[in-house]
Every structure is written in C-alpha cells, then in structure tokens.
Amino acid sequence: MAFNIAAFEKIVGTDQVITQKVDLIPYGFDGTAELRQLPAAVVFPATTSEVALCVKEAGRQNIPIVTRGSGTGLSGGSVPLEGSLVICLLRLDQILDLDIRNLTIRVQPGVITKDIDAAAMVCGLFYPPDPGSMKISTIGGNVAENSGGLRGLKYGVTRDYVMGLEIVLANGEIARVGNACVKDVAGYSLKDLFIGSEGTLGIITEILLKLVPRPSARKTMLATFSSMEAAAEAVSAIIAARIIPCTLEFIDQVTLRCVEDYCNIGLPVQAAAVLLIETDGHPSAVDDEAAAMQKICEEHGANEVKVAGNQAEADKLASARRQAFSSLARVRPTTILEDVTVPRSKLAEMVGFINETARKYQLKVGTFGHMGDGNLHPTFLTDEKDHEEMKCVHQALSEIVDKTISLGGTITGEHGVGLAKKEFLNRQLDESSYGLLKLVKKSLDPHNRLNPGKIFDLP
C-alpha cells in the first residue's frame, strides 16, 4: 500500500512520526501474550484537531487506524494491523479541569489512570476504578476497554464514572456526547456506545469523569478456608447481611503456593482458598461491618480470620493478593491472563471446573480474582515455544469459555474482546445481538477503518 508519510509529518511534525523498524518493533504488541504485528507508522498527535486531521488523511489514503495509549491492554485491542497507522495519544496528557462543586474531572485520554485519583485525592475526592495496570494505563484506554479493577462490587467500573466524551469519528468529524448533568435523557445515550468500543467506533480525545467523596476509613481482613465452596458461601452470607465490602478478593491453592514459593511470608499453603476482604466508609460503620464480616466468616467454616489493626498490618495481609499475579508470572516463560466472569453464585463451581480442566490437560493454572463480582483470572503458566502445550492451552481455554457461557457468564469481564476473544464472542451472543454489533460498526465506520478486525470480522 502506498503510504504518504509526508502528509502526516505535515500535521504532527516530522519528529512525531516514526517509520523505522527499530522504532516500530516496540509498538508491535500490547500487554497480551502471543500477539505481534508491526504497523506501517506511528504518529503522536498533540491535540484533538491533529487527531482529526490524521483520521481524515488516513481516510484519503485508505489506511486502517489503530489507537493506542500505553499499550497495556490484555486482549490485543491496541495490537497493530499490517500496514496500519497507529495513533498514539500519550501527548494528550493534560488534566483540564477539576470541578469540586459538580464533583467532576475533565481529562485528556493520555492521562495516567493513577494520576486522576491522585488529583482527586488532593480535594478529598475519589476516582475508584483501579485496573491492575493503573500506574501506567491511560484513561483513554480504560474508557475504550471499559476497564474494571478490584473495587467493582461496591464502586462499579469505568463506565459508571464516564459522564461525557469528545470523540473523533471515523470521518474525522468531532462529536461531543454526554455532559456534566447527572440526569440527561436527550437522545440516545451515545456515550455508552463508545465506552468499551475498543477503538472500533471513534477515537476518544477528551473525557468528563464523575468523582465521589473519598471514604475516611478502611479495615482489612484475611480469611482462610479449606474449600472454595466454603469461601463462596461466606461471601454470599456477607452480601445477604447487606454489607457491600469494597474489596472481596480470592486466591486459590495453586496461586497461594506460588506466592509462598516466591515471597516466603508464611501463608497457610494447605488452605484451598484465601479471601481478602476490605470495607471502607465512615469509621464507625467500618468497625461494625468488619466485626460482622469476621463473625460471618467464622460461622461459615473459616479456619482463621486475621483483622489488621493498622495500615502496616493491612498492607501485610493484602500482600498475598497483591503478589498473586507476579508470583504466577515468574513460574514459566509465558503467562496468559484470562478474565472469564460468572454470576457470583456460580463462582465456586467455575473455579472447580478450571482446576479439573487444568488437570485433564496437565497444565499449570492458578486462579485468583474478584469474588464479589464473579470476575475470575485463571492464569495459564506455559511456554509459547512449546507448540504441543499451547494447543492444550487453547483447547482448555475453549472449554472454560463454554462452561462460563453455560453458567450464564461472560467471556470477558474487564479485558475486552479485541483479538484474543474474538473467536468466542458469537458463542456468547445470540445471532441478533451479534448482528447488531456489526450494524452499529457499519453505521459509524462504513469504510471499516478504525481498528478493523477487532471484536469481530466484517466480511
């Protein structure tokens, strides 16, 4: 394909376009295992109008566009396509406005997620979504993938905080959807269409986010159980007691043993499940809830419940969960992190099935995740150079996906479909809703230029 680089250099400046192999190789992937493809070029626009001009120019030259932030996605959403133009939004990195009367923050898409919460914290406010990569992920990527995090049960996910968006459409026009009003029913809720659209419908160039008051107290506890079912029962009982903890995380035995191997912190490696539970809010409410949760865990067969007396103890209790992923990731050369999600009541059954499947294919799989919202992270520890084993990994994954769907779950709770889950999407969706996705795509991007081939293929 003829590629007129000069036209893009004219828009963003010669030093903001890269085309050499040595520069492009590091843009040939995101955080997803196994996926790799070089783009034709990467451009770094600094303003919304530069983004719009790039989109128009790409249209003239008929070049597919892949939008990218920090490239930490876990489904291949920002992995380039052959011959594509990557538009990297890291230079749009300003916090534009923090409005403490309306509790909103207006940001550009390249702002790092953690920096948004840090800015909010200065005013006693809180931006709750905390994806695992929040230290480096961009808010634009979070909105495009509708990222979750550890606080989903109580605080929701990225979607629940997006009030408005500025978007460069496939034809290069600029649209503003949503606004600072809590209530707004003027027309379709178009912003919701773009949240989680994985770069296939438009390029997000500005975001208006909702903030909430920062909770003043927090209490942390760690409970160990001799079966995953008992842990799940305890969680159900906590929620039935009308307590919504801000954190309700679990790790399974495989993960627990990997953590202990790596960290040597004296974890109970005989336990089948460990729960990390946190409650936050007003200090007196937090104390009451913590005491109630401790009692419920003990009544539901917890072998041990440790409650942190101060922040240092809380950090220590949380370390097993915090170290879960890194302890698993260093066991084998390739780590594949999945995010199947089931209704909370089916979680124990799903973990059991994952373990059985791992045994059947002789694979090492550690599972941890968000017990409160049913979001599991089965983590395959493997080696992409071992083709036989990789076949088993894909077979096992396919079976896990089928089981998830049969339990009324979803193939992806927070990572997105991208390339990695594309083949599974039509198993989950019925024919008409799958068709509806394509219909939306065709209306908004008739030439299929924005991140083509992600989520689904168009004929």
Partner: protein, 434 residues
C-alpha cells in the same frame, strides 16, 4: 555466560517479558521521551528481534542500549522477574565488540576509563594525587577563571567541574590493614572491608566512618591494601573480560583471611550489587562462597544488630531525606536497612522524597558518556530533594553522592550531601564525648 551474544542467551530470558508495561513508569529514559524504544520492554523487544533474526545489530541498537542508564528500576517493577541485568550486560558487551559501532570520542573516553584508570589501583591513586594537588593548590580555581577547559573543547569544559574532590588522605593512609575494637567493647567477630576505587580516593572519610561504626559494634576490620576496582564499571559497560580479571584480583586480595571473616562489607551501592554476583561472572566455587559473604553495610548492621546512638543536646537537629542508590535498592533489593540506620540517629527528622528510588543520573560513567540525559534525570531528582525542605540528603554510593553534590552546587543550593554510615559514625562520636 559473560562473553556470549544475544542470540546465545537462553531464549526464555527474553521470552520471560510479557510486555505488560509495568516497567514503563519507573524508567528514566521513558519518562524523558515517552517513546517505547527507550523503555525496558521496548529494549527487550529489540533484543528479542535480534535473537529472532528480525533485526541486525548496528549503531542504532548500540545507541539504544547505551542510552539505558542500567538503573534496574525496571527489575523491581517487573512482575515476571525478567533478568534484565543479564540481557543488558550481554547486549552492551556484544555491541562493544563490533568495531564499526561507536564514536571516536566515546571510544576514547571508555578506553581511558575502563582500561587505563579503573584497571590499576596504583594508576588510579596517581590520578587521585595529581587531582588533589590540582585542587588543593588552588590551581583549579584559576583554570576555571581563565576558562582553560573551554580551550580543550566542550566535553572537557563539561567534565572538569564533575571531577570529584579528592580526599586529603586516601583510604590506605586513613585505615590500617587490621583494626580492632577499643578496650571495653566486646569483640563479636571479624569482617573485611571493600574500600572501593573512587571511594578510596574521593570518599576515604566514608571508609573511615564505616570502619569506626564496625569497631564500635564489636567487629575487627581487615582492609587489604591498594584494592582493585571490583569491575562493576567494566561489567556494566560491555567489558566482561576486564570485569573477570578485576574480580579475580579483588578476591585474591582477601584470600588469606577469607575463611575467618564473618562478612565482607561493601559501603557503595553500585559496587555491592556487582560484588554479590561474582558466581555468574566467574563460575567458580570460591566465587559462590564470596557472593554469600558480601554484605552491604546497612544490611550487615541491621541483620546482626547495631548499637543505637545515644541522644544528646549537642547534636544538630534538622530534616534529612534519603536518596536510594539504584544498585542498592533495585540491584540488591535493600530498602529498609539504610532507613533503619537513619531512623536511629538522634536529632534528625526523616522526610521521604518523592520517587526516592529513582535514578539520579550518575549511573556509573553514564554522566560522562551521556551528559544530556544524565542532566535531565538529575534535574528531576533535585526537584524531589528540594521539595522535602531537607537540609541534608543522604545516599550510599559515591557516584550518587558526587552527582547530587554537583547538581546542588550548580543550582546554588545549601542542601548538604552525606552518607548514612557517616552520620551514624558522627552520632557515635558525639555520644562518646558526652
């Protein structure tokens, strides 16, 4: 393993990187440029491309690896335990061996530093003595006033103010080969002291303080004469053969007392990190034993227990902040021990700076070879230091000490630079005087 090429590396070392991006926010060069090729995962991707045969080794790639400070902050951030140190040292060694790579200036500087100065302790001491004469005679002031360095070109003009101030006595004069705890202090055992190369001539006082702290805590100290460079500068700069040679030399200097020593003490973060990894360099049984015996001074003090200095009115109260040497916190993973030492000091209030574990830009000889990026990294560090309002910044590595001191002086700041072990020694001396 030390003279292999990227292609010969165990592929799983390269493959271990899952490109999650957690290293990006910790990388100084990524912070400066926001470009992936200047990030750890980007550099690993390039090395992997070399191993896969997709990319040729050439000037671009060598420049990229030389642009990396080797601060190892990425290894602390990495969830997957990627062995970036091995990749980095292998790559630099491979690229240095390609004759077409490198500019004449860089080659000359590197050759002088690695092969001529740091290989021979006596030559280094000679350079040190000449510098001392130059500095104490006041000649340096006149040379600068007359702008003589500028006649020798921009690089000399930049380098001249960076030369460390030489100690009035070098380590071997300040410290006897054997020193024992004074009367009244119970002897707990024997340790060896690594006096270092730059440390010996520019920071002999820090070595003296280290010995005093050890003596006060009941340790007899053995300090071999005219110690060789440990070779860390060579290993980090693509000269593994020289690193092997210097490592062996150093080990032989301790050989006669080795078995009787409880530990061999390093008081420089950068050297310590290298000194603990002789086994992978030399692949020998003595090297394995050596690695086990080398301890950072703060690590040793906190592991074995140390006397908390008694408080007193004579001690100047003030605020201090701690800059972590990269190879102490990332290389050796020692973060709490120096803070424990600092928190024991009477009269000082410790205020943490933002990003205390971020590089200061010294990075071995990086500040000489890559002055522009080094200055950017230093600038961020100085901002963090100033924001604490501290009167004193402490660090435990001669390179960091010099870099920060030069930066503060150039900025006209009154903040003092010191080392934890020196403050501890002073606190002990003060408490004895009372």
């Amino acid at each position: 393993m030390s003279y292999q090429k990227i292609k010969d590396l165990d592929y799983s070392v390269l493959q271990q990187c899952m490109h999650c991006g957690m290293c990006l926010p910790t990388c100084p060069t990524y912070e400066s440029t926001k470009r992936e090729r200047h990030s750890p995962r980007g550099r690993i991707a390039l090395l992997r491309a070399v191993a896969d045969g997709d990319l040729e080794v050439g000037q671009e790639l060598a420049d990229e690896m030389n642009y990396c400070l080797g601060c190892l902050a990425c290894t602390t951030a990495c969830p997957a335990g990627v062995d970036y140190t091995t990749m980095f040292e292998t790559a630099r060694a491979e690229f240095e061996a390609v004759p077409e790579i490198g500019t004449p200036r860089r080659k000359l500087l590197r050759f002088l530093i690695l092969n001529k100065i740091f290989l021979h302790p006596r030559r280094l001491h000679l350079v040190g003595r000449l510098l001392r004469i130059y500095q104490t005679s006041g000649l340096d002031v006149w040379v600068r006033k007359l702008k003589l360095p500028h006649l020798l070109g921009r690089s000399v003009a930049q380098l001249e103010p960076m030369t460390p101030r030489m100690s009035l006595v070098f380590s071997d004069q300040a410290i006897r080969e054997w020193e024992h705890p004074p009367e009244g202090i119970e002897v707990r055992g024997k340790v060896g002291l690594l006096s270092g190369c730059v440390q010996s001539i520019a920071f002999s006082n820090v070595n003296r303080d280290t010995v005093d702290v050890l003596l006060f805590n009941g340790w007899s100290v053995f300090t071999p004469r005219a110690q060789a460079c440990c070779g860390s500068i060579h290993a980090h700069n693509g000269a593994p053969k020289l690193a092997k040679q210097t490592g062996k030399n150093l080990m032989s200097q301790f050989a006669k007392e080795f078995d009787s020593l409880d530990a061999i003490i390093s008081n420089a973060g950068g050297c310590g990190s290298h000194l603990k990894h002789f086994e992978s360099l030399l692949e020998s049984e003595p090297a394995r034993k050596w690695d086990k015996k080398v301890k950072d001074i703060h690590q040793f003090l906190t592991e074995r227990g140390f006397k908390k200095p008694a408080g007193g009115n004579s001690i100047k109260a003030g605020v201090l902040t701690y800059h972590e040497s990269c190879h102490l916190c990332h290389g050796q993973r020692i973060k709490n021990a120096p803070r424990e030492v600092l928190n024991s000091l009477p009269g000082w209030e410790m205020v943490e700076m933002a990003n205390s574990d971020a590089c200061c830009g010294s990075a071995g000889i990086y500040n000489i070879l890559q002055p522009e990026e080094s200055a950017r990294v230093l600038d961020r560090k100085l901002k963090s230091i100033t924001a604490t309002g501290a009167q004193c910044v402490v660090t435990s590595n001669p390179g960091c000490h010099l870099q920060i001191q030069n930066g503060l002086t150039a900025a006209g700041s009154a903040v003092q630079v010191d080392q934890p072990v020196s403050l501890l020694a002073r606190a002990y001396r003060n408490s004895q005087q009372q």
